[in-house]
Every structure is written in C-alpha cells, then in structure tokens.
C-alpha cells in the first residue's frame, strides 16, 4: 500500500516538475534577443508588415496570456508551428527526429549498460588488483572525454584511417534509418565511452561497498562458495545504486546527444535542438527542450519505481521506520 502511494506521489511530482519547467523554458526562450516578427519577414519587411504580423501572431499579448496559449496547446498535443520553416507543424518534424534519437540512445544503452556493469563488478570484486587498476583508469579517462573528442578519435580511426565506417551519419534523402543502421555505430560508441566511465566507476564502488558489508562476510563464513556469494548475495544489492545512476543520467545522455548528433550530422532530437537554437526558432526550441526534460523526468520515475520493486526495504516498508 505504502509502495503504491509512493508511486502516486512521485507521479504527481513529475507532472508538477514538467509544468514548472514548461513555464521556465517558455520564460527563458521568450527572453532571447531578437524580434520574432523581424526574423519571420527577414530583410524586406516594412514597419506596417511587422506590426500586422505581430498582431496576428499574438506577440503583443501579455506574457502570461501567450504562455497560457502555448501551454493549453501543449495539453492538447499541439506544439505549435515552426518559425523558421513557416507553417510547418512542429509535431510533423519533432516526432520523427525523436524516434531517431531514441534508436540511437537505446543502441548506446545496449552497449554501455552491460559493458559497464560487467567491468564495474569485475573491478569491484578484484579491487586493488591489476585488472581493477586498468579498468579504473580506463573508466576515469573515458569519463573525462567529452563526446565529441572521443567521436573525433573514432572518426579518425574508423573512417579516415580504416575507412570502414562513414564520417557522417546522415540519412540519404528518401531512405530511412533502418536501411542505414551502420551510421548508428560511431555515435553510439561515442556516447558509450562517456557513460561507460561513469557507470562502471559507480558499479565498482557500490560493489566494493557491498563486498565489504557484514552480510557478505556472514555469507562467506556460512561456507558458501565465493561465486555464489558474489552472484546471489552481493550483486543484487550492488546493482541498486547503479540502476539509479543509469536512470538519473538519461538527461545527461540526451545532453550528450546534442553534441554527438551535431558532430556526426545525425538527424535526431539533438541536432534539431541545435539548429533551432542557431535559427532562433522559438517554438521549436521550446518544444525540444521540454521534450528533453520530459525524457529525463519519465526515466527518473521509471528508475525510482524499479528501485522500489527490486528493494524489499522500500517495497515492504511499513508506514514508520
């Protein structure tokens, strides 16, 4: 019962966070310098033309009225129209790009989650030994590399020297992502590198902590084989913090996507956000940033729930500690 109540509370706080965030994003983006009407009409604008456009776009309305118009549109699933590509509904651009980014993000997740957990556990169990030192240094170094640095290194190696993978990850016009899956490899690898360092180091330290715990010692002194102690007693508890870390870093992952997609020219949410900022396409910036926030909030909720399901201390908690 307590667990379900906890979920509902989290869900409510997620909705509240999104609502506040939508306001903040709208506020920030509207503050951006430059006149929207001027941007739409370009060089050959007349003062009269500008004035009438402002009127028709509702730009003269008070801030809160404009916010409410945008927000109520959001609630009905209407993200508005792009400014840069006049008359094009954001809905028609955004979702395809989001789809691409999700494919890329999931590919990266499939790479780095098993890799970093495996190496993190190995390093944690063998803490202090040579294998741990190598894994730990590698983790530290990769965590410190911005995505585009590792991306550039990969391009130099795989595309320039070995010429086995494309330099850019553009989808040729008329084709779909599914026919060009090889373009995913380098961007996904670049993300994997950063996240690997972060997650494996977390996994290592939680593994060390658990291996050092009283209950693992007790399990060993019960005469259970070491392998069994590691897999049945230590691993489950040591995975819990890692799950949180992976979930909490979904936001970071999407921040990283902006960089990676820009580097490789991959047609996803990140490069869309980037080009929206470059072209000052206000409604599109708002939509993209809000969606990134949405991804983060949802993944936090999922992690939190998963954590609760896996941890009997949360799942079976009584009302009072």
């Amino acid at each position: 019962m307590f667990f379900i109540r906890r979920f509902i509370v989290r869900l409510g706080s997620m909705v509240a966070t999104l609502a506040v965030m939508s306001f903040l994003i709208f506020f920030l983006v509207e503050l951006m310098p430059g006149d929207v009407a001027q941007m739409v009409l370009g060089q050959n604008s007349t003062p009269e033309g500008l004035a009438s456009l402002r009127e028709s776009m509702g730009l003269n309305d008070p801030f809160l009225v404009r916010y409410w118009r945008w927000f109520s549109g959001l609630l009905q699933g209407d993200l508005g129209e792009s400014l840069y590509m006049r008359g094009v509904a954001i809905n028609s651009i955004l979702w395809r790009k989001v789809g691409h980014s999700l494919v890329l993000a999931i590919t990266a997740l499939l790479f780095y989650v098993p890799l970093s957990i495996f190496f993190g556990v190995v390093a944690g169990v063998r803490a202090g030994k040579l294998s741990d030192q190598i894994i730990s240094f590698f983790g530290l170094a990769t965590m410190a590399l911005p995505e585009f640095v590792s991306g550039v290194l990969f391009i130099t190696l795989f595309s320039v020297k070995l010429k086995i993978l494309p330099i850019t990850s553009v989808i040729p016009i008329g084709e779909s992502l599914w026919g060009n899956l090889n373009i995913l490899i380098l961007p996904a690898l670049s993300i994997t590198i950063v996240m690997f360092g972060y997650v494996s180091r977390m996994q290592r330290s939680s593994m060390i902590q658990v291996m050092d715990s009283d209950y693992v010692r007790a399990a060993t002194l019960k005469g259970l084989p070491r392998r069994y102690v590691i897999f049945r007693h230590a691993l489950k508890n040591a995975l819990l913090p890692t799950i949180t870390i992976i979930g909490m870093n979904m936001g970071w992952l999407f921040g990283g996507l902006i960089v990676v997609e820009t580097l490789f020219g991959f047609p996803g949410l990140g490069s869309l956000t980037m080009s929206a900022i470059k072209t000052r396409d206000v409604p599109l910036i708002e939509a993209c940033v809000l969606f990134i926030t949405f991804i983060f909030v949802v993944s936090t909720l999922i992690t939190d729930t998963l954590y609760g399901v896996l941890n009997p201390r949360v799942r079976l908690a009584k009302g009072v500690d």
Partner: protein
C-alpha cells in the same frame, strides 16, 4: 598535508595529472610569447600543412593558421573560465546548499523541489538556452552561465556533506553553548567538510573544461577570433579526411587536460574522503 604528500608519492597517476595540469598552466601563461606564429596569422604558403612542415610543429588548418599557437592560446580562455566556474559554482553551492540543509524543514523542501526541477534539464541544454538569451558569449558570460548551470549539482553535494555533519553531536553542543547559526555553519561545520568540497571543486574544474569545450564545439562558446578548442574541432571537421591532425590535436588537448584534472580529483577523493 604530510599525509597527502606521502600518498602522492605512491600514486604515479596523480603525479602525472599534476604534471600535465602544471604544464598547461605554464603554457597558458608563458606559451604564446614562445611561439613562432600568432594565433591569427595565416601562412598562405602552408595551408593544411601536416605537422612539422614550414615550422608548424603541429601543422596548420585550412586557412594556414598555426595549430600549436592556436591550441596554446586557446588554453588561456578555457583555463580561466573553468577555474572561475569551479570557484563560483562551489562557493555559491556551499552557501545555498548549507543554508538549505542547515535550516531544514520548509526551506529545505522548497530547495529540493527547485533542485528537482532544475536538474531535470541537462546542464548543457540549460547553458545553451541561457547563452541564447545572453547573446554573444564572452569569458564573463560563459563563466557566469556555466556557474549557474552547475549550482544545482554543487549545492546538492554541499547540502549532503552538511547533513552528514549536522547530525554530529558537536553541532548540538555548539548550539546549546551560545553559537549562532552563521558561526555554526561556517566556523564549526565548514572546516570539517573541506575534504569533500575540495574534491567537488576539482571535479567541477574538470566538468567545466568539458562544458566550455562542448559549448565551443556547438558554436555557442567564445566567438572568433578567440581560438577555442571545441570550436577548432568542429571548424576543422570539414577537412578531417585530408587533415586529421587539425582535429586530433585540439581534441587531444582537451582530453589531456580533463583527464589530468580527473586524476587529481580522483586522488583527492581517495586521500581526503575515503581514508579520513
């Protein structure tokens, strides 16, 4: 202090980290005057020159600008911004995080709510949006903006370290012995949290370098003609197939600096937190 030096001796990676960091600081301070070329000079004879040709130790870019001069000059802005950013975000984080954690109750709840909201947007995206608001980036605006983007994280860390000490009896003892809140927070507790705070500040230093480089790469960092490592990577990416060095060297510069600082931060966390 003696303990730190003793541990440093047995940690070659940390020594290497310090060495690389000091090398970059030296290059930033004295480097540009030692170069054969200035960072804007275009050697029209040697465009896209491979490393070593025409006196260009690391080669040139498409405009014939000396890569070494540009990288060395670029270290100035990136180090300046990162240093001030880690200082400001840590200092502001301590003040905000300490106040929230110390007073607790409603103040803390509101603080945590705000934090939840702010942290739901990646720092990089937040920084990009604020940068868009501010217009052209300068060292000042970049520092300010990255500091703001990092405050939620530093404040959270500061709050956490404060909370581990707030429950200690010496804080209770100070309260009933007439100390006021300000002196409890900053005179009694702060000195005991220096370890984690130093670790956080060095980690922030590394993150700031990554952030400056990423923003430069995305074209919202410092504006030309100031050379910026991240910007150099994206500029030269067009010629990567003919001149891979022009991308590789600025990338390696970023990597060496961030890895060096991370090694230092890792060392501090081993010495100052885990073994105390």
């Amino acid at each position: 202090m003696r303990r730190i030096l003793h541990d440093l001796k047995s940690n070659p990676l940390a020594i290497a980290g310090f060495a690389v960091l000091f090398l970059w600081i030296f290059l930033a301070l004295a480097g540009p005057s030692l170069m054969n070329f200035t960072y804007t000079e275009m050697d029209t004879q040697n465009q896209i020159a491979p490393p070593g040709t025409g006196g260009h130790l690391l080669g040139t870019d498409a405009l014939g600008r000396d890569l070494l001069a540009r990288i060395v000059t670029g270290s100035r802005s990136i180090l300046t911004v990162a240093l001030f950013t880690s200082f400001f975000s840590t200092a502001a984080g301590i003040i905000i995080g300490f106040s929230a954690g110390y007073f607790g109750g409603l103040v803390d709840k509101i603080f945590l709510r705000i934090l939840d909201v702010l942290m739901s947007i990646p720092a990089l995206v937040l920084a990009m949006v604020i940068l868009g608001v501010l217009g052209d980036s300068t060292i000042m605006s970049l520092t300010l903006m990255i500091s703001i983007a990092y405050i939620p994280a530093t404040a959270r860390v500061a709050r956490g370290t404060l909370l581990t000490h707030k429950g200690r009896e010496y804080v209770d003892a100070a309260r009933i012995m007439g100390e006021n809140n300000f002196s409890i927070m900053f005179r009694q507790i702060l000195p005991n949290t220096l370890g984690p705070i130093i670790v956080e500040a060095t980690a922030r230093f590394a993150y700031s370098i990554m952030m400056v480089a990423s923003l430069g790469f995305l074209g919202v960092g410092l504006q030309p003609p100031t050379p910026d490592w991240g910007m150099m990577v994206i500029e030269n990416k067009q010629i990567i197939s003919v001149a891979p060095w022009s991308v590789l060297y600025p990338a390696l510069a970023i990597a060496s600096l961030v890895i060096a600082i991370s090694l230092i931060s890792d060392f501090f966390s081993k010495v100052l937190i885990h073994e105390s």
